[in-house]
């Protein structure tokens, strides 16, 4: 299945793009997607632990299975205000 991924702040700079579309197998978890991305964008590895994942605008655990047509985002801890 195809997933659309958004990146923000430092993660966007590591990846060099605001958004990418990837083909991933069904039954892909957030953790598997993280691994895939780190392979593709090794710079993400350095701060991998503090990179937060969101699926369909909700904070997502690594075990979460990515649903069909999901909108996914990876970003560092937030700093608004």
């Amino acid at each position: 299945m195809r997933v659309k991924i958004f990146f923000f702040a430092t993660v966007r700079e590591y990846v060099g793009a605001k958004t990418v579309e990837l083909e991933v197998p069904a039954q892909t978890t957030v953790a598997m997607l993280r691994e895939l991305l780190v392979k593709k964008y090794p710079q993400m590895a350095s701060t991998q632990k503090s990179i937060i994942a969101a699926v369909n605008s909700e904070y997502a655990a690594d075990e979460l299975l990515i649903p069909l047509d999901a909108e996914i985002a990876f970003f560092p801890p937030v700093s608004g205000g």
């Binding site: 503090s50 801890p77 937030v78 608004g80 205000g81």
Partner: protein, 152 residues
Amino acid sequence: MDYPTITTITEMELDLDALIARVTLPSTGAAAIFSGIVRGMTERGNAHETSFLEYEAYQPMAEAKMRQVAKEIRSRWPSVEGIAIVQRIGRLYPQTPTVFIICTAAHRDTGVFDAARYGIDRLKEIVPIWKKEVSPEGEFWVEGEYIPKSGE
């Protein structure tokens, strides 16, 4: 009567008077307001100057999380009447307001100060907005410390 809840992310200049008017009801007698401001000179910790801040947001999620913060405020302080949570993004220079959290209530002793404080603390934990600080020495992304739990 339905209590007004305003949650906005905008690149426009913030208009405090207009915002207060939108969260003021006939029964309102108090508004607690927090505003964050771009600090040009930092003395605490690593003393430095700031030229400007560059804000970005994951807009749909940020607005959803702002609505969640408002909901959390209402469940903790049922006497709060109106709530406004407004974040300005883009390039913001020192002495510029960046965010307003407004909670209104009938009286000041209703927890309305704590409600506004909770609003800004929670925004800094779960609302996906980031700022890059640009100073004469260079630039760096400001990162929070909070890691939200799944579904939070």
